[in-house]
């Protein structure tokens, strides 16, 4: 008798949970007109411009929501969302790489965009005849084995490496997918704290080579991009899977996140926002032929 009662009770509970769930989801979609609250996002500086733009549009739609977006780096973003300091942590890398396994487990991953990294050179290098490098050549250049552009068919000029600090997400992506995991020659490269300064250094220094996300190259004719193994770094080539140097941009929430957080992230990944995403130089996650590397 007791057992039957407990089974019946648990069945009832399960039913209650199911209906609870059901009503919850319908609730969030129907009452999304009156979203309110605060969203605070922090982390990856590569994702920040896109998040800023999305925040602006989202706040126009829902004036009661206030959103703040800060940079600070992927590690910082993950730490702060894990602490509860911010509601959304933005990161270039998976949470498991920067947090303890226990902390990472509490976070929910949302893959909001794809970011493509391109090798860039000073214009005189391209004018000197270098518009394509093989992976082999790229590795030799960044590890300091090749030190003059004439060895790869360019002008007789020393190669100047302009890179990012070892903890940078952009550098991690470039090292992994463009250099096949070979570490850069740190004692020969000029590191820059952010991609804006990196662009200026590559633009101003003859013989310079570096790498930035495509989002920094929108409407920028001051530096030249280089193809890798004959594949141009473009969004189309990233979508098709031909170009290999790209990373997923993550937005993490603690647990499921608040209703407002989820609505914001959903908006960032929506078809409405996809056009803006591409205009800013980011890849739309849903257009990728494969999200696996």
């Amino acid at each position: 008798m007791k057992r039957i009662a407990s089974i019946a009770l648990s069945g009832l509970l399960a039913l209650g949970m199911l209906t609870g769930c059901g009503s919850n989801t319908s609730d969030s979609s129907s009452s999304s007109e009156d979203l309110s609250g605060t969203i605070s996002a922090a982390g990856s500086s590569a994702l920040k411009p896109l998040a800023d733009e999305a925040a602006k549009d989202f706040q126009e739609k829902y004036p009661d929501v206030s959103i703040t977006v800060d940079a600070g780096g992927s590690g910082e973003g993950l730490k702060q969302v894990s602490d509860g300091t911010v509601t959304i942590g933005m990161s270039d890398v998976a949470a498991e790489e920067k947090l303890d396994a226990d902390q990472a487990k509490e976070l929910t991953d949302h893959q909001v965009a794809v970011i493509t990294m391109a090798p860039i050179v000073n214009k005189d290098v391209k004018e000197g005849g270098v518009d394509n490098l093989t992976t082999e050549q790229l590795i030799d250049i960044f590890t300091g084995k090749i030190t003059n552009w004439k060895d790869v068919g360019g002008p007789d000029e020393d190669i100047v490496l302009v890179t990012r600090p070892s903890s940078s997400g952009t550098r991690a992506t470039f090292t992994k997918y463009a250099l096949n995991g070979n570490e850069e020659a740190e004692n020969k490269s000029m590191e820059t704290d952010d991609s804006g300064v990196l662009l200026k250094n590559v633009q101003d220094t003859k013989g310079a080579i570096g790498y930035v996300a495509l989002s920094y190259l929108v409407d920028n004719d001051d530096v030249a991009t280089v193809s890798i193994d004959g594949v141009e770094p473009t969004l189309e080539n990233t979508y098709s899977g031909d170009y290999k140097v790209w990373a997923v941009e993550h937005m993490y929430t603690k647990g499921k996140g608040s209703k407002t957080d989820r609505a914001f992230i959903k908006y960032m990944m929506s078809d409405d926002f996809a056009k803006t995403t591409e205009k800013l130089g980011y890849g739309v996650a849903s257009k990728m032929s494969s999200m696996d590397h």
Binding site: D158, P165, E191, T192
Partner: protein
């Protein structure tokens, strides 16, 4: 009747205690976080201070190297050069505005110097990067314009107002009777300045120089933009290198919480704290009333 007396004394005491408490807390916190390098990751103090092999791993497993000699040398060399450039200029300016032409000095020179002090460091950095770096490239036929020399020049400009205004205050504080006495004995103006006034203001001048040095040591942003951050010991004043502050600023945001890199960066921060403590101790030494003579 003494209510007010006690109330104000209480407020003043609380203010003082907060300042002392804050300084102590920061020191203890930095020491605690920084000690992980030695206790958790088992590096020796000798390795940290004496080795130029910097390659901490960005994970909690550790196993990298934490030789910070590059940053220590980088900081010492840039700040030393900056002092060499700024001190004579500042002394000259201070003598001019207090002794040679006090009217122009007070009405025009001092406000200008104060404006200098108020310019944010990012402006100095950006001007350095946009004007000084290209100039160096042309003037010295360097392929890379960034160098320790440029960083030192930018720093010199930044600490110039600190040293100048403090030196000027020290010079004005010399009693008028000293000057009158010197003139009365038949000294020329120059003899009065360098035989009487400057020796009398000596401890104030040294304090000014140390304060300038302290500011130079702590500056990260402007230096980071023009030093061309390379993880290598400088071989000449045209080399690119790194300082303690630039490395901390560049890596802190992305480093993994609890990882070896983060611990090493905390240790670097603690080192900076100790250096500024040492400088303050020096100031006290200089200003302490002499027991003998």
């Amino acid at each position: 009747m003494f209510k007010k007396e006690y109330a104000w004394r209480g407020i003043a005491t609380i203010g003082g205690l907060i300042v002392i408490g804050l300084t102590l807390t920061i020191g203890v916190f930095l020491a605690y976080r920084g000690s992980a390098t030695f206790f958790q990751f088992h590096h020796t103090l000798g390795e940290f201070l004496g080795s130029a092999d910097w390659n901490p791993v960005d994970s909690a497993a550790g196993g990298g190297t934490v030789g910070a000699l590059i940053f220590i040398v980088g900081s010492l060399v840039t700040c030393g050069l900056a002092l060499l450039i700024a001190t004579p200029l500042s002394l000259g300016a201070a003598v001019f505005m207090t002794q040679i032409s006090p009217r122009i000095g007070e009405k025009f020179f001092r406000p200008v110097v104060q404006i200098f002090a108020g310019i944010p460091s990012v402006v100095y950095g950006w001007v350095g990067l946009s004007v000084l770096v290209p100039f160096m490239r042309v003037a010295f036929h360097q392929q890379v314009g960034q160098s320790i020399l440029v960083a030192a020049i930018v720093l010199a400009v930044m600490i110039f107002p600190t040293i100048t205004s403090m030196t000027a205050d020290a010079l004005t504080a010399v009693p008028k009777t000293n000057r009158d006495g010197a003139y009365g004995l038949g000294s020329t103006r120059w003899q009065t300045i360098y035989r009487v006034i400057i020796p009398a203001a000596k401890s104030g001048i040294i304090t000014a120089i140390i304060m300038g040095l302290a500011r130079a040591f702590g500056e990260a942003l402007a230096v980071a933009m023009v030093i061309g951050q390379t993880t290598a010991l400088p071989t000449s004043i045209f080399s690119t290198s790194k300082t303690i502050t630039t490395e901390v600023a560049a890596q802190m945001g992305n480093a993994m919480e609890g990882g070896e890199l983060k611990a090493a960066l905390w240790t670097l921060s603690f080192l900076l704290f100790l250096i500024s403590l040492f400088m303050i101790w020096l100031i006290h030494r200089v200003n302490a009333p002499k027991k003998e003579d």
